[in-house]
Every structure is written in C-alpha cells, then in structure tokens.
Amino acid sequence: MAAVKLEFTPMITEAATSTFERLELDCGVTLSPVEVAYETYGTLNADRSNAILVLHAFSGDAHAAGEGGWWNSMIGPGKGFDTDRHFVICSNILGGCRGTTGPGSINPETGEPWAMSFPVVTVADMVRLQKMLVESMGIKKLLAVAGGSMGGMLALEWAVAYPDSVGAALPIATTARHSAQQIAFNEVGRQAIMADPDWNEGNYYGRKPPARGLSVARMVGHITYMSDASMRAKFGRRLRAPDQFEVESYLQYRGSTFVDRFDANSYLYITRAMDSFDLTQRGTLPSLFEKIRTRFLVISFTSDWLYPSYQSLEVVSALRSRNCDVAYCNLASDYGHDAFLVEVKEQAEIVRGFLASTHA
C-alpha cells in the first residue's frame, strides 16, 4: 500500500491504493487481484467511530476534496462533511478508470487489458469492494455513507446490504431504481460510443480511443445534468462565434475534455451497473427497511428532472412506512441534477446539522 502525502490543502489528505486478493462478483466471476484507489481527509479517531464514506457519481473519482475535488465545497474544515470532526474516505468505484480495477486494467491471465472481457459488475459489487476497503482500515461501522446520483444508489445499497455497519445514509438526488427515461439516456451514450469505429469492440487500448463517441455520450449527459432554467441563464441564445451558439461550444468542450480523463469501456460498464440497479428486486422497499436502524437524510432538488423528487419520495415513503428515522428535504434550485454538486450552501448546513446529531 503506497501512501502519498499531499501538501496543497490544510486538511490531512492521503491518496493511496489498496490491493485485495479476491472479490467475488454477482455474475459469478471472481476478480483477483483487485485494486482500489482512495483518498482520505481528516483523522480517524481512537475508537474509529468518525468515518464517513463519500460515494462519487458516475464519472467521479477518489479525489473528492482538496483542489479540483468533485465535492470540495462539501468536504473540509468547517464544511458540510467537517474534516475537523470526521474522517472522510472516498474510493474510485469498481469498473472505473481512475485507479480502481476496471475494463482498462490488465487481465493478469493474458497480460492484456480486460476491455470487453471484463466481467459484468453491479452496484452491489462496488459496495462489497468498498466494504473490504473500510474493514481493512479497521472500521467496523461507518458514521455515515453519503453520495449523490449514482453515489446515492451506492449509499442505499450500503444501508440495505450492511445496515449494522452504517450509522446514517445520505442518498442525494438519487433513486432505488432507474426509470425508462434514465435508462434511455444511458443507452444513447452507450450507442454513441459503440457506433464510433475507433471503439473497435472495446479493443482500443494503446491505440486511438473512441473519442468522438465518448464525447457525444458526455454531451448528452451534460444536457441531462442541467435544467431549462440553468441553460437559459448560462447560455441563452448567445453566440460564441458567428455560426456557433455558446451552448454548442460548451458541450463540445465538456465532451472533448472528458475523453482525456475517462475510459469509454468504463462508461459502458458503469452505466450498465446503474441501469440494472434495482433495490426492489430483493423485496418491496418497505420490507427492505423493516429492521433497519440506520438514520436517513434524503435530499432531492426541485429542478432535477433526471432524478426527479418522486424517486426520492418513493424511498422516503417506504422508510416512513416502517417508522425509520428519516429526514427529507426537496431543496429549491435551478441547477437541475447538477445541484447536488453546486447548490452547496443549504445542502452543507443540512448535512452538517444532521451529522452532528448522528452517533455511530
């Protein structure tokens, strides 16, 4: 395990990789070995009761806090996840391309990248690997698990799979199962990638990657993360060039930079894992929450049409029907699905107060 001390932030930050001997997947395949990239912020207390696992969204990574961190506005001294009080962990998900084993990793049996021979992974597999990582740190029970979007799905999976190991769950802008609309947008992204000749059935490592396909997939994604109101405010009909709208330029830029940091095959595997996630396959939501002692803070955003509030309310309703301890807030925001990343002031206040009254 290599630990690198990063100096650019006042909080105690470590970036590291852990290797585990084996991980049994839902599909029946055993991955061996498995690497997990993670970062931690703050200090684990003596009785290891102040750990919070932060769960990144679809395209996120382990770099949650510090400069360029995807949730830097929420994690740090005095912030929503207060690193003066809490030990915050974030790991890159299984199937990802940011340091954790995924389709771009080398298959030890062939010495070649897995590509499309990488086994199908599920949200439950991702959580199982995170559980191994947390246990390897000597943490039996997390004070909280928290995440937005796909990260919220992982938070729900954590609470249902390991109720005794989770003090509180904070599923934000998320769902217990994707709707047809959510699956549809993911499918457009997948088809865009696979339609790119450079995709080459997934075998593009060491060659030209399917940049055009991946870029188009990301452009569609970005549209779904915004709202009509936020796009009107941000772009309107303003022109970037005589024959180019501002919004076109923005989406193309987002698409092209995404290609530099994301692997197209990971896109296929992770969106598939999101689409197949369905807690209700294991029983009705109320029945899954029957004996749960975990506290819940569920947050949705008024303008989020990708993960509309009715999906959060479905979870909240089930929790209330079993008299679970649940707080729910539908925060007002114009930012659409992106709100959980950018509409931070109210969210941070809520999270801070909720965590202060949560005890492992």
Partner: protein
C-alpha cells in the same frame, strides 16, 4: 410555567409529553419544540413541515423532518407508531381538519392539539361591534390574507370529540400567560387538548 421559545402552547405541550416517548410534530416549523423535547425529555421526535426553508433549519438542528403536506403525508406512517402526535396552531389552517385529527389518532396513541379559540370574548366583541370579520391579536389577519380557513371554538372541539367518541384526557386553557379555569370558551385564547381514540 415553563417557557419554550415564548410560545405558551409549546410550554403546555412539553409538560404533557412523557419523557422517553416517541413524538410526531405536524407543522413543526423549524423544529424548536422537537429539539427542546429531545434535549430535555429524551424524546425521539419526528416532524412534518411543508415550508422548505423551515425544513432546512429543522434538519440543520438535527431534527428528522419530512418535507411534505401534513394533510396527505400521514398516510405513510404505520398505525400507532407514535406515543403522541402533536398539531400546534395548525388545525385551523387545514383543509380537512377531521381527516387530520383522525389520521393523528390512527398513527398515534394520543393526540395533542392546540388552537386559537374563536369563541374568545375579544373575537366576539370585535365581530359584534364592527360587523366585520373579527381582527384581534389572536386573529390578526384580514379575511383575504388569513391562513386560517376553519374557525373553531373550545365548545366546537368538545362537541366533535363527543361525536367521534374520542376521550379527552386533559384540557388546558390559556389567556396570556395564565391558565383559565372558568368559562374557557369565553375566556381562553388558546386551547390545548390531549385526546385519544375510543
């Protein structure tokens, strides 16, 4: 008398609630009462509140509040889930008060309801002398901007309780900071009832 955030009905309610119980506060605002009950009576409290800004403040206070409409939001809770279900100064603002009261007794062993008494003498005098919709300290609104849509008196609630076969276990009447014992329908500004199903 106990003073909880300057609201007399809160003070009374917090005396009625036994320690260590489970409480649901309907229209809980920013969760002051629930936080007080948690800190002073070890109460496990939940709240329902419609206004987003209030819900945010309540959750930031560590109180588990559900943002939703209390008129439709009670249906999810299982039967007899709470020791007390509290409705403070909100009954007169509900569209279907009887449905709310019945819902309270379905999900709670006891209900505690506090409401401004429309039978108070100042209300009657105001109406009698001006011939207009009464405006008093207790009912400070004009007819067109009042959140109150159902006006009830102490006697009205007693009559309803009898009709529905509810058992009124405690009744407390307030005028200013004093408890009223004579002619409560005329003398009390605020009435608090602790009641249970038959």
């Amino acid at each position: 008398m106990l003073d909880v955030f300057g609201r007399r009905d809160y003070a009374i309610i917090s005396e009625l609630v036994e320690p260590g119980t489970m409480v649901l506060d309907l229209g809980c605002g920013e969760g002051e009462l629930l936080a007080w009950l948690r800190d002073h009576k070890k109460v496990d409290g939940r709240g329902v509140e419609l206004t987003g800004a209030s819900v945010q403040k309540a959750i930031a206070r560590g109180v588990s509040v559900y943002q939703g409409d209390l008129e439709t939001g009670l249906d999810d809770y299982p039967e007899q889930a709470f020791d007390y279900v509290i409705l403070s100064q909100t009954l007169q603002q509900t569209r279907d008060p009887l449905r709310v009261l019945k819902g309270m007794l379905r999900i709670g062993k006891r209900g505690i309801v506090a409401f401004p008494n429309f039978g108070h003498w100042r209300v009657r005098v105001s109406h009698l002398l001006t011939g207009r919709s009464p405006r008093t300290e207790l009912f400070p609104y004009d007819w067109y901007n009042s959140p109150n849509i159902h006006f009830l008196t102490v006697l009205d609630f007693e009559a309803l309780a009898e009709k529905e076969n509810w058992r009124v276990e405690r009744r407390i009447f307030l005028a200013g900071n004093r408890e009223v014992s004579v002619m409560p329908n005329l003398m009390s500004e605020v009435a608090v009832f602790l009641f249970s199903g038959s």
